[in-house]
Amino acid sequence: MQNINGDMLRGHLETLILSTLDQGQAHGLEIIRRLHESGCGALRLKEGSLYPALYRLENAGLVHAAWEEETKGRRGARRRIYRLTAKGTKELNKGREAWRHFVAVIGGILGEPA
């Protein structure tokens, strides 16, 4: 199976993140794990790229972040736990709808593989 890298994900990463948070709140590494598991190992994303997308989502009010209290094993560095807001849920639904439309239109043009 061909790997899907960061360039191919551009424009979809934020919706993908919202979708992983739909399963429940999570910190950055957990979001990456969920993305990899859902992508059956085909997603190849530089883990640092997750954070600019998370910050954009936070600035837009689509996710809410809170510091984790436990810092054990990380030399005092805390993780931030992200959860979906009501606005984020709405945006996720819009994103899913837009994706279905995109697949229907492009799929209709490209057709089934021979």
Binding site: G28, N59, R75, R80
Partner: protein, 183 residues
């Protein structure tokens, strides 16, 4: 885990975050969160590879290039914050002088805003605004002082700006100013 690894990872994060035009509190938040993520990856890799150096290298590889990350993080900073830091940021001397130059320009404009009505009153003693309490004796000196201060500010900051630009171009012949101090 040896002490060298967190220091190395913190330095790696600093390369990505140090030059971002963002507030100190935002950068602090980014630093802590990204370091926590890197240390988590490092623990995973160390468990798998059983070698600190290889695990640290693999951690950085998984996280991506600091320069790419810096560009992406910069784009994620709200434009209002970036503009504010460009105008008032402590580290950006060039922008500060440019900003002070424009304060000088503004002072000259406001000063002329006082001088011109005073000249008008000199030509035509009938007051333009009958209820205006300020006569030529107030408008003219105030306008002149403000304009002179404005011109001095403009001249001083223009000179400083040119000097700074010249010193930057001589100290960095390759134009490499991408990595600098944190704040």
């Amino acid at each position: 885990m040896s002490d060298a690894v967190p220091t190395d990872l913190a330095a790696y994060i600093e390369r990505a975050i140090g030059a971002i035009p963002a507030s100190a509190s935002r950068k602090r938040r980014m630093r802590e969160e990204l370091l926590a993520h890197l240390l988590d990856i490092y623990d995973e890799e160390l468990e798998r590879l059983h070698d600190e150096r290889t695990a640290a290298a693999r951690t950085k590889q998984r996280f991506g290039l600091p320069d790419d990350l810096r560009n992406e993080l910069t784009a994620a900073v709200p434009w209002v914050e970036r503009l504010f830091l460009l105008l008032f940021g402590k580290g950006n001397l060039m922008a500060r002088w440019l900003w002070m130059y424009f304060v000088g320009v503004l002072a000259v404009f406001v000063g002329f805003g006082f001088i011109l009505p005073a000249i008008q009153q000199l030509r035509d003693p009938a007051p333009i605004m009958p209820n205006n309490r300020f006569g030529i004796g107030v408008l003219m000196p105030f306008g002149v002082v403000l304009s002179v201060v404005g011109v001095l500010l403009m001249g001083y900051n223009l000179r400083k700006g040119f000097r700074l630009r010249r010193s930057r171009s001589t100290s960095r012949p390759n134009g490499d100013n991408s990595v600098n101090a944190a704040n």
